[in-house]
């Protein structure tokens, strides 16, 4: 086994899909650029040709719509949005069209498009280059939302997303790109079989994350472990449709729930996780109130001073747990 980075894992998923599925093609801005999407798309245009790897005009709306339309016609397109913020131009094609195409026509047609949307935060990029809007999309019935946090999932869930007969938004966070792991051989897994996964076992508190938040939770929990705190860490992986069953079992065991989310607090994914657990457990199960660590409810600031306060990190999570809980 060869150690692989998260970004190389994405690249290897593209390579696998393009090699094995002639109906797969990729479009989006920056695909012929050597720097636009990290090295996650590197040289794909040279290997598979500019017919299948299409760098597009600055038209998020039309190009996303085109990917949706091509998917209705038997192709498996992947539309890449190097920053989620710009994808908002394409909301009609995603929310009104792709998400509803199967339902509106009684299942006669479907739109198996994959929308790769990249979260690209920090670096003083400010309010319009740093958003994590996964919770928005998780609100919409008909669109699956996938957030890989591990290197293995970065590769495997991209493959599952593209092979899924439903529209999928696959969200990767550039802060995860340097993670490394030894990957198992590729085994195609139906996206339906992908549920929240326990990454670390413990019996005192259940910490739930998605994407980069899972990494934070995992790192914080490892450090807490040396202080004697036994945290169980769950990675959501697929946030819509959301299956809470594994987490529910965990909370019944640990009796404490903390959710870490890279989005805002109000109406966010953390609220959804907490609600779906609380409404399904007996009253008085929890020793402590369910809690969440999210972004503060303000746009991403540009100043590095503000940024330090804005984003959750390992130290903040450890401090929060030490301050809020008595095990």
């Amino acid at each position: 086994m060869i150690s692989t980075t998260y970004s190389d894992a994405i690249l290897s998923a593209f390579d696998y899909l393009l090699k094995n599925y002639p109906e797969v093609f990729v479009l989006g801005q920056g695909l012929w650029s050597p720097w636009y999407v990290g090295n996650t798309m590197k040289n794909l245009d040279k290997k598979y040709g500019k017919d299948r790897i299409i760098d597009t005009p600055v038209s998020e709306s039309a190009c996303t719509g085109a990917a949706v339309g091509a998917s209705i016609c038997g192709m498996k397109p992947i539309i890449v949005h190097p920053r989620m913020d710009f994808m908002l131009y394409a909301m009609d094609s995603i929310v009104n069209q792709a998400a509803k195409w199967s339902y509106m026509f009684g299942g006669q047609l479907n739109a198996p498009v994959t929308i790769r949307s990249i979260i690209n935060r920090g670096g003083s990029q400010g309010a319009q280059h740093s958003q994590a809007l996964h919770s928005w999309f998780a609100h919409i019935p008909g669109i699956r939302v996938v957030m890989p946090s591990t290197v293995q999932d970065a590769r495997d869930l991209l493959i599952s997303s593209v092979l899924c007969p439903d529209p999928v938004i696959y969200i990767d966070d550039r802060w995860l790109y340097e993670q490394t792991a030894d990957l198992k051989p590729i085994k195609e897994t139906p996206l339906n079989d992908v549920t929240p996964k326990c990454l670390k076992e413990g019996d005192q508190i259940t910490i739930v994350g998605s994407g980069y938040s899972t990494l934070l939770a995992l790192n914080a929990s490892k450090k807490l472990h040396s202080d004697g705190v036994r945290a169980e860490v769950f990675d959501l992986r697929v946030i819509n449709p959301f299956n809470s069953i594994n987490i529910l079992d965990s909370v019944l065991k640990t009796k404490r729930l903390l959710v870490i989310d890279s989005g805002w607090k109000s109406c966010g994914m953390a609220s959804e996780v907490i609600t779906s657990i609380v409404e399904n457990i007996p009253t008085n199960t929890l020793i402590d109130p369910p809690r969440r660590i999210t972004l503060p409810d303000c746009p991403a600031p540009s100043s590095e001073v503000h940024e330090k306060d804005y984003y959750p990190n390992e130290e903040k999570i450890i401090k929060f747990i030490n301050d809020e809980y008595y095990f």
């Binding site: 085109a66 091509a70 016609c73 094609s93 509106m104 009684g106 047609l109």
Partner: protein
């Protein structure tokens, strides 16, 4: 052919229109056009009545008066082509799939409809005939149709995409993005703009500096032609030539067809003098440009059709409407248990 000088008058209710030039068109084609337009007309009038008397629950956008466009274009299509419509698309789906029962069942919300009763008038599809969907978000399907054309190009199938849209849709930004992307990627798509001069209640003159939109095609280097949207033969000839070329060499084209809807924006009312710049006088003038009567007259004039044959055709259409409507009325609604079906393709 509409000359440059004709452009100004084509959208004028007082425009003096010429007799249809039906030369060099097979008689069987002309009869097909007549039948197809008559069926669409009668179906929509039936739907208007049923909406008025409350049998149909959802909104219906009727295109009575505009039948020639879909009928003329559809004659060039095959089942593997990819057609997308919008909110006013009864004619677009019937143009390629004349299953009246399925249309009636759908507008009545019955499970035997085009979309299994899940769509109603505004969400129609007939996959086996290449009609891949119509939706009521203005311009919503235009980029999808571009993608369908792109798929066809990648699949090297020789199939083409058709995007039906109205004049209002040309005011959305994504229309312009779609034209640009189609051109720069050489996508085999025919944009068919049905310019009926109104978006809801608003006349073109209140929304755009000109009453025609083909300038947008020119801006994106897309070959275009302005045609009389109430002349089925002209529409057939123009689309036939464009589609022939698209199948040989993938490229986008745009047809602008000037027409007029006899009903208001939605449902059965005529919307006379309740909208802006839509008068009874204008409507009566436009009705003189009836695409069905013009074709019938031209055929009778050329002695390839008779008043008796026309009468028989009308009777046949009435029977078709009646039989299919009654059948649809007696069909079942979707099972209540199916509410959550097909949100996802696999559960």
């Amino acid at each position: 052919m509409i000359s440059d000088g004709g452009k100004k008058v084509l959208e004028d209710p007082n425009y003096i229109f010429a007799k249809l030039n039906i030369s060099q068109i097979e008689h069987s084609y002309l009869e097909d056009f007549l039948m197809s337009m008559s069926v669409i007309r009668a179906a929509e009038i039936k739907i208007a009545e049923a909406k008025k008397n409350g049998l149909i629950k959802g909104p219906v956008h009727l295109g009575v008066g505009q039948e020639a466009i879909a009928v003329g274009v559809s004659k060039n299509l095959r089942n593997t082509d990819r057609i997308f419509g919008a909110h006013r698309s009864h004619s677009h789906v019937l143009g390629v799939d004349n299953d009246l029962h399925k249309l009636f069942a759908e507008v009545l919300g019955k499970n035997t409809g085009f979309s299994s009763g899940m769509g109603g008038s505004m969400h129609l599809a007939s996959k086996s005939k290449g009609f891949l969907g119509s939706v009521p978000i203005v311009t919503g399907t235009v980029p999808l149709a571009v993608g369908a054309g792109l798929a066809s190009k990648l699949q090297k199938s020789g199939d083409i995409a058709i995007s039906y849209l109205g004049d209002g849709a040309t005011e959305e930004g994504v229309f312009h993005e779609s034209l640009n992307f189609a051109r720069v990627s050489n996508i085999p798509i025919l944009f068919v703009v049905e310019n009926n001069l109104f978006s809801s209640h608003m006349h073109m003159s209140l929304r755009q500096p000109l009453n025609t939109i083909n300038r947008f095609a020119k801006a994106h280097e897309i070959e275009t032609k302005l045609v009389d949207g109430n002349d089925v033969v002209e529409i057939y000839r123009t689309s036939s030539e464009f589609i022939r070329r698209m199948r040989l060499k993938p490229e986008p084209y745009l047809i602008e067809a000037i027409t007029y809807r006899w009903f208001g924006h939605v449902d059965w009312r005529e919307d006379i003098d309740v909208g802006v710049a839509r008068s009874k006088k204008d409507l009566l003038n436009w009705k003189k440009r009836d695409p069905i009567k013009r074709l019938s007259d031209a055929m009778i004039n050329k002695k390839i059709w008779t008043i008796e044959k026309q009468h028989n055709l009308d009777l046949k259409v009435d029977e078709l409407i009646h039989a299919n409507w009654e059948k649809a009325l007696h069909d079942d609604f979707p099972d209540r248990k199916s509410l959550l079906d097909n949100v996802y393709k696999y559960d």
